[in-house]
Symmetry: none
Subunit: 229 residues, 4 copies
DNA sequence: CATGAATGAGCTTTCATTCAT
DNA sequence: CATGAATGAAAGCTCATTCAT
């Protein structure tokens, strides 16, 4: 009770209420959303320790106090950032419209999607790295994290099965490994772009470089799963 | 700064110097090394911002002041940590004894080395992630970073050439891409082990899981480079 | 402030009012009383600074805002807590049914009452200590504080006079001093129970210890006032 | 190690070192002492919560940071304030030069000492009240607290024994209770002077009022312990 | 060569209170 | 009548760094 809105107020809970939101509630929603968006940017840019509460509240054009009002603590905010990040990735994956009858083309589409998503959402990657630096301790405190288990593996599983039936894919391939292969290659390329660039002496983020890399991993994945690549 | 002693001298350089160190110098050397080792652990564990000067000096059983004495600043210390980390990786790669006459076996050996090295030196990965979070700004200030450009690509290049000559490898494969493929798969698996474990609901660090993953990427790499895999 | 409702009306005053309260008013009354009760507990437990508005509103299962609605400010609430505390002490004293014809027994009864009241209402003591820490600045702002000047001294005065008339008490004894003597011994024992316990290495709050102390001060007071103790 | 001087540096430890203190060390000692003195005043005046770190460091003409440097935390500082307060009380008690052959006069002297000490050191009282508000939780964390168990009870015990032998004191009197009686009356009078003044409508701190009170409790104590008062 | 002392900016968080329905 | 949202000051504490031997 008291000042705090039953601690971290869940967006879901509020949406569930039938009552049409008034001006005040909508303004509050905006404040909350602004903070969440700002926090995503700031944490992605500076990490957890480097992402100060002040940086976030300033960027959200709000006040430090509001972060505690809506999210309870810096950690609570970070957890919601992670949840939101997972949820957006999930939503994007669900929008993939794949034709099971065309497993090869669909697999290529998945690869294209992953490479594009990582390249356009590098904050996804830095947030994940930050969370891994903290040994997953924040996400393990999240109750919603499980809900957002990626549908990607299931999708790939279906594609593989379809390909096997059509005698274009090999039968003994693990969908999880194919998923990890695609994720790893897409992830690493973006995650380490700064040290790799210094290291290789070339810019990895030009459209050509990206296209080249995507082509390479497409060929690699296909050679791994196809009977006659 | 003015009176900095052995400041810009790497451990290698120092060992190479013919002059036998006196007791005084050795004690100083020990303090310096202790700090460097402690800093590596602390930065790897907590990141750059999270790795406070006090945590480091405590872990090194020394004093804050000594860090400034030997490394000038926290940033200077972090740069030396990165350099040291690259140097150690380099040294390890140089110890790989590969038979160019056996390109397939040698390539497997390279994969085995990478997976093992990452798995046994996860601090290598968190330090690199930290540096990438900072967009490579520290390593770009290092003068020695270039010296330690990994010999891995050159090695793979030779293996690929040998394999092509022996008609076991395809001709149009980029050594850089093969290197990135190996690095990416090895790196991602370790780097994201905490979020992946939460995500997949399984422990990725058991010997069996690691062996399985190594087998998978070995097969993937070989299918990518071999003529008749 | 402007719209403050039942603001400066004590519980007693309200109960005395003939008009039956409606449901609305009763609900409001409940909220107000809940806050007052919660505030008494919280201020007694944590002091004035330590007793935050949030702690109180949470404990009252109400909202911060309600404290300002009913009491104007934290200080206003604290003043009402003090007034309420004095009033309750007064009410309890007035319930003492003493026989002036039996001055010795009655004096013993007064002592018993004081020791029991302090021991059962330690919050009375911590609130008084808190107010004394603030040099009485809150109670001096209260308009009702004077109304509640303890009847105890007057009672003791009557007992002493009766005892003198009956030739059992000495004639030159100050009722004020006897009151202070009783209050001091009862108060100190409870007020300092934590530091005394640490100090003396024994629990002062066991029934035996309390009874022993009460016996001692009874004997002390009687020896002070009686002609032939 | 690191910056902190092996956490809260004990004054004793430093004094134990044979080495004559240099200018630096002496300056440090001064800083530490200034903080301790300032903290005693501030905590006594504003309580624990009300006594902010900034108030203390300002009053000590030092910096917030120094409090953490020397005392580890606000709580650590408060504990040392309590210890110091007990120690000073102890030292003062030890300076009492009592003649066991004159038990009545000596007991009067003890009462005079207590009343005077409390009246001249009201901070002793507010600090104790503050600590009792916190249920003795700080003093129970102190390792030195036990060392300072007041010699007062032992002194009174000896006086009582001497008086019994000389047939002026009653035999069945508990030294502890006499001590508590003297402490309670002296303490209460000072501790509650603000609320009592408002209550009784007179100033309790005039020399006359104090002398009157001291005379009263002297008579009370003597009537309690003497055979023929 | 080493190190205790000092420094001020910055950190996350809590405070009492007011705004706007 | 009631309350969620907003506010800025201040709290305790940690930060990287410099001073002064």
């Amino acid at each position: 009770m008291a000042t705090k809105p039953t601690s971290p107020r869940s967006a879901t809970a509020r949406l569930a209420s039938a009552k049409r939101p008034g001006v005040r509630e909508q303004a509050a929603q905006t404040t909350r959303d602004n903070i969440l968006r700002a926090a995503t940017k700031v944490f992605a840019r500076y990490g957890y320790e480097g992402g100060s509460v002040e940086k976030i509240s300033l960027s959200a054009k709000s006040f430090d106090r509001m972060i505690y009002y809506y999210f309870g603590s810096k950690e609570g905010l970070f957890i919601e950032v992670l949840e939101d990040m997972y949820r957006r990735m999930n939503d994007a994956e669900l929008e993939l419209d794949l034709d099971l009858e065309q497993p090869v083309e669909s697999l290529k589409e998945v690869i294209r999607f992953v490479v594009t998503y990582y390249s356009k959402n590098p904050e996804f990657i830095t947030l994940l790295n930050t969370e891994n630096l903290h040994r997953g301790k924040h996400i393990s405190k999240s109750m919603r994290a499980r809900e957002y288990s990626s549908p990607a593996i299931a999708i790939i599983q279906k594609l593989l099965e379809s390909g096997v039936k059509k005698k274009v894919f090999r039968a003994d391939i693990s969908a999880r490994n194919v998923y990890l292969l695609i994720a790893a290659t897409g992830y690493f390329y973006i995650s380490n772009r700064h040290t790799l660039s210094a290291f290789l002496g070339e810019d990895l983020q030009t459209p050509e470089a990206l296209a080249d890399w995507q082509a390479f991993i497409t060929s690699t994945v296909l050679r791994t799963v196809m009977l006659n690549p």
